[in-house]
């Protein structure tokens, strides 16, 4: 069975009991989440999806060209484009929360009604987070270098990756 809103298989089957009689809804995980995170009046709109919520926020004060430009923006670390995120509802890497900060903010507030984490924190803090993000980027660049048969560049990158991985090993 397919999701009611997209082509993905429906893995969530929700009994909606707020209407006159129970109705059964079938969603992929993404659309199930969106469905469940919307307040009841929004649930009646069929276009409600992560993409829909995003589009609504983005329409305000933005022209079609702005949107098209935004869609093309890519995370420098993992390469995910904003269009890709809008379409799939999944981010590409931790750095997306930084580089798409302004776009994600209204979406996150819409979902959670809050804009700041108040719970548990890692005991070790976000140690060497910069290096970690750099590893994601280097691995991607290495893969691209190999694909372009630039083996000299690839081996340079590999050495740098090994150096960072080794450092990480020492710290843990």
């Amino acid at each position: 069975m397919k999701c009611q809103y997209c082509e993905k298989p429906a893995t969530f089957h929700i009994t909606e009991l707020t209407g006159d009689k129970p109705s059964e809804l079938h969603f992929c995980e993404e659309h199930a989440r969106i469905y469940l995170t919307q307040s009841s009046h929004e649930q009646q709109e069929p276009a409600s999806s992560l993409a829909g919520v995003l589009a609504q926020h983005l329409k305000v004060g933005q022209t079609a060209e702005d949107l098209a430009q935004l869609d093309q923006r890519a995370c420098p670390v993992c390469g995910v484009t904003f269009y890709e995120f809008r379409h799939a509802g999944r981010l590409g890497c931790p750095h997306d929360y930084v580089c798409f900060h302004d776009e994600l903010m209204p979406l996150i507030v819409n979902i959670h009604g809050a804009n700041e984490h108040v719970g548990k924190r890692p005991r070790h803090g976000a140690r060497e987070a910069g290096d970690q993000t750099r590893l994601i980027q280097l691995r991607r660049e290495m893969k691209e270098a190999v694909e372009q048969e630039d083996y000299e560049q690839a081996s340079k990158l590999r050495d740098e990756i090994r150096r960072l991985e080794k450092q990480r090993g020492k710290q843990t």
């Binding site: 994600l104 996150i108 959670h112 984490h117 990480r168």
Partner: protein, 359 residues
């Protein structure tokens, strides 16, 4: 570990004990975590996925108290085995149906499982029989700390734990309680209850089997919001509302006993009768009837059956469990026959000493 070994046992969440276990089946908490040095799953190469698995397994194996965990390579499992793990709720349906390197580490008592390369790199899940969210939290917090000692999680000062989907960001925590609410369903009060849960931002899900029909009057209540509230606040929200639901259900049961004892007894006895005598039976019908019998036991209308036995029947009559227990693959028609046989064997055996006609 062989999955066949698990098949015979019941697992923590169907133990049928713990606080309020006549109505609360299980309490569970899951945490979504990602390693800072890898892209989220969507942007992972095959190499990345393999490396995430290697890194996490290495670290998990290093933990002294986890020497007896079982590692299951979900990617290479047969369909029936993946389905089996889903039925036991050790992996999610999404994890089962995904592609690429992925695995799960399972505690021998099935109190927790660690899913690797699910929607996030790591999904920690703790299960507890009955209503016991505080123990579940204490355990999952400890598990999370043991892993965090060795890896760097993707964490942001403002956003908290970073997840592939912004709907999980912050605590990355989903708290859920599974309730058995047959009397609220019979008395048609359940819709009203769920409307009010939606209003306070809680999600309600029916439990589903093979098809898409809700079955067995089982409902899962969970939080939707993960950001802006602490883990304790999220737990408190569920913990506050569950006793209210338990109270409603108990009152509905009392009402049924008082106002329509005969109908209720009839319903329960018929359900029991069909389960004991059917020659072929679907998993939906089985769940539906077991649900009535379960309520009958709790109300003292059925005295020769106990909740743990019943819980075992719930899980053992699921499609993949039937096939694992039987040791062969069966199509739907043959599963329905095997299911009826299984129920007869296990329910009639218990009646051996007494005359079932007297009930």
């Amino acid at each position: 570990m062989k999955l066949e070994d698990l098949a015979g046992q019941c697992g923590e969440w169907l133990r049928g004990s713990g606080p309020e276990s006549d109505i609360v089946i299980s309490s569970r908490i899951r945490l979504a975590r990602n390693l800072a040095e890898f892209p989220f799953i969507r942007k992972c190469t095959d190499q990345d996925r393999a490396q995430i698995e290697r890194v996490l397994h290495e670290h998990i194996q290093r933990v002294d108290e986890w020497k007896n965990l079982s590692y299951v390579d979900v990617a290479t499992l047969e369909d029936v085995d993946r389905q089996f793990l889903v039925e036991r709720q050790l992996i999610s349906r999404e994890h089962s149906e995904a592609e690429g390197a992925r695995s799960v580490a399972i505690d021998p008592h099935e109190k927790f499982s660690l899913m690797v390369n699910e929607e996030d790199h790591l999904r920690i899940q703790v299960m507890q029989s009955g209503l016991d969210l505080q123990s579940a939290w204490a355990q999952i917090d400890h598990i999370d700390n043991l892993i965090e000692e060795q890896v760097t999680y993707a964490f942001h000062e403002r956003w908290g734990y970073l997840t592939a989907c912004p709907t999980n960001v912050g605590t990355g925590m989903r708290v859920s309680v599974m309730l058995h609410l047959p009397a609220l369903v019979i008395t048609r009060q359940i819709e009203k209850v769920f409307r009010s849960l939606h209003k306070i931002g809680l999600a309600v899900r029916g439990l589903y089997g093979e098809g898409s029909q809700a079955m067995g009057d089982f409902y899962q209540i969970s939080n939707q919001i993960t950001l802006g509230r602490s883990e304790q606040q999220l737990i408190a929200q569920i913990s506050d509302v569950v006793p209210v639901l338990i109270d409603y259900e108990r009152r509905a049961r009392e009402f049924l006993v008082r106002e329509s004892q005969k109908d209720l007894h009839d319903r329960v006895s018929r359900a029991y009768g069909i389960l004991c005598t059917a020659q072929t039976i679907s998993s939906e019908e089985t769940m539906h009837l077991l649900s009535s019998v379960r309520m009958g036991i709790n109300l003292g209308l059925i005295r020769d059956l106990e909740i743990p036995t019943l819980n075992k029947l719930f899980i053992h009559t699921q499609p993949a469990h039937l096939q694992k227990l039987r040791g062969v693959e069966l199509d739907t028609a043959n599963r329905n026959i095997e299911r009826a046989n299984y129920l007869q064997r296990h329910l009639r055996k218990r009646d051996a000493g007494t005359d079932p006609e007297k009930n």
